[in-house]
Symmetry: C2
Subunit: 364 residues, 2 copies
């Protein structure tokens, strides 16, 4: 078991990464400082892993709440369903939620924990690669609004994160790829050596080689933890974690959060950001080329889905939490391993870069 | 203008109390550190005070959002309506909400500010006595759930509180009385001299004598600020502010938040708590007698509404945020001006005290 600590004073917590941690009472139980536990999961994860978690937590006599599977259920209404369950079953403030599942379960359960009686404890038990390297770490919780992703939420740190790499064996390949987009992102924004390591090890990772997987998840979590420690509430540096996300969210919104996975949309967004970085930030043009190759090896798309017009995409980018005084702010790359946040975005260049990654642009 | 500071490190903020502050650019404008402003109010307050606030804020070109009036609208759905407005109008994270109205507007607007894009600034401009002395101070925000009051919320401190005492002239008498219940509470839990002052000045207060009103609001806010400074997130001391609220909330829930005002329910709850305190905490029996007389002079009820059975009331008391491990915790009085929180509650004595304040108990 590898352990990384997220150092946030009295809100510090461990991230534990390892094969088979789901069955380890030691890994999970020590994190829970509450007499009552509700495990929240979804209808796909429940048959796979819920019985094991209930078993490990048996001394709490845990209860469970199963929500439907899918990003379209990351809503205020479904969050309210968790609250209703807590109230119906008489859970008090001294209760702990366990978020067992992917990013949707983690974000919505975290938001329920942030707001139930103005805040209770929760533990993240991510079962997708995306959740293990990204959404379960850092305390961002949220639900979607029809007009924008993650628009209603809170910063609420978990009491701990348990990432069992063995759960990735049941993950659909497409979701494995989507998670890999975020792993690649960490190399791009903060660690050129890690990016090079990923270029060497991508085939092993896609075959779920345990050692490579643990190293990739640990390194990703370590980079994210260091960024969150410096800027817990995203007043500055933390925004670099959103490389590719402004375009990514716009794509997801245009598709109504249905067809494309978050990581797939982010992959295209990162490519656009890298391309734009070559036009204004002096990024070596070799970087987008290397990125494109790596994304393809990870099974990720390298152009936007058809049917979204360029103007529509540009318009949707304005509904972004990084926006300040109506000005678009983007994460760009100065060089491989170094990101910046800027509102100095040339619209002409932006449209050029967007055009290169829309279908039928003749780029390929 | 009287000013009290709530000292909470980088979340510190001023409470400004005075006659006519609504028209003072100086009082309000200095608090806003955001380029865009949305004023949230309700359909009753809007015609009375919204134009003046929009005028004072004109350099921001403020927008407004009017919600329906009433506790029954303090819901997740109505909160979501504020979020929708913000998104439709393209408000970013650097926006400020102004909560212009009573406790419902303040609580729901504060919760929208706490959760919109994971947190934006807001300013409280309370226009009821209850909001001026209680709900606008301390950063508790929430909406109701059908199974319990304030069950979904967050701690999110405002950037400031502007209490214009002149707005109380348009307040219905019943709401003035309801706010007075909380003023009386501060004397009971923390300041015997203030309680005695209230006994002398209650008639002047009910006639809205400006000097008396300012002093009562300032003193109430000062007591609340000191408690919040010690225990911002209600892990201990802050619970004493809930004297009378466990029973009060139970009454409100039983009546479906419709017929009785919060302060009216709290008045009866405080009487029950004082009576129970004489049975177990050694409180001088003169205190409930003085309290009863003072509540009556403030136009407040001194027994529970008819039609709520004692067992139903007791059961509803269990859904209380103070509950720990299923044990009821109550705020009781050791003496006038000193409150404690205890889970050492004798059920027999509790039922005796409850019985004395239910209609038809033959106490009167």
């Amino acid at each position: 078991m590898r352990e990384i600590t997220v150092n946030l004073g009295d809100r510090s917590y461990p991230i534990r990464v390892g094969h088979g941690l789901l069955d380890s009472t030691q890994a999970l139980a020590g994190l829970i400082a509450a007499p009552r536990v509700l495990v929240v999961t979804n209808s796909v994860v429940a048959p796979l892993y819920l019985p094991r978690v209930m078993q490990v937590l048996q001394s709490w006599a845990p209860e469970s709440h199963i929500m439907p599977d899918g990003e379209q259920y990351k809503t205020l209404e479904v969050m309210n369903g968790i609250i209703t369950r807590l109230l119906e079953r008489g859970f008090g403030r001294d209760s702990c939620l366990i978020a067992l599942g992917g990013g949707v379960v983690g974000d919505i359960t975290g938001f329920a924990a942030a707001t139930y009686q103005r805040g209770i404890q929760y533990v993240q038990v991510p079962t997708t690669l995306l959740a293990q390297v990204d959404s379960s770490v850092g305390g961002k919780t949220a639900v979607n609004h029809p007009l924008g992703k993650n628009m209603i939420g809170a910063f609420h740190q978990p009491a701990g994160v348990i990432a069992d790499t063995s759960t990735l064996a049941t993950l659909p390949r497409r979701e494995l790829s989507a998670g890999m987009a975020e792993v690649i992102k960490y190399g791009l924004i903060a660690d050129a050596e890690f990016f090079a390591w990923l270029e060497r090890e991508m085939d092993a990772l896609m075959k779920l080689a345990p050692e490579a997987l643990e190293y990739a998840i640990e390194t990703s979590c370590r980079i994210k933890a260091r960024v969150v420690e410096i800027d817990e509430r995203e007043s500055g540096l933390r925004a670099i974690l959103n490389l590719g996300h402004t375009v990514g969210h716009a794509i997801e919104t245009a598709l109504d959060y249905g067809e494309w996975l978050h990581g797939e949309a982010v992959a295209v967004g990162m490519l656009m950001a890298a391309d734009l970085s070559c036009r204004g930030q002096g990024l070596d043009p070799e970087v987008p080329a290397r990125l494109r190759a790596l994304l393809q090896r990870a099974g990720l798309p390298v152009e936007a889905p058809s049917g979204i017009g360029q103007d529509r995409l540009r318009q949707l980018m304005n509904v972004d939490k990084k926006t300040r005084s109506g000005r678009l702010r983007l994460v760009l790359l100065r060089r491989l391993g170094e990101a910046i946040v800027t509102d100095d975005v040339d619209e002409h260049r932006l449209h050029e870069s967007m055009g290169r990654f829309l279908p039928g642009s003749g780029r390929n």
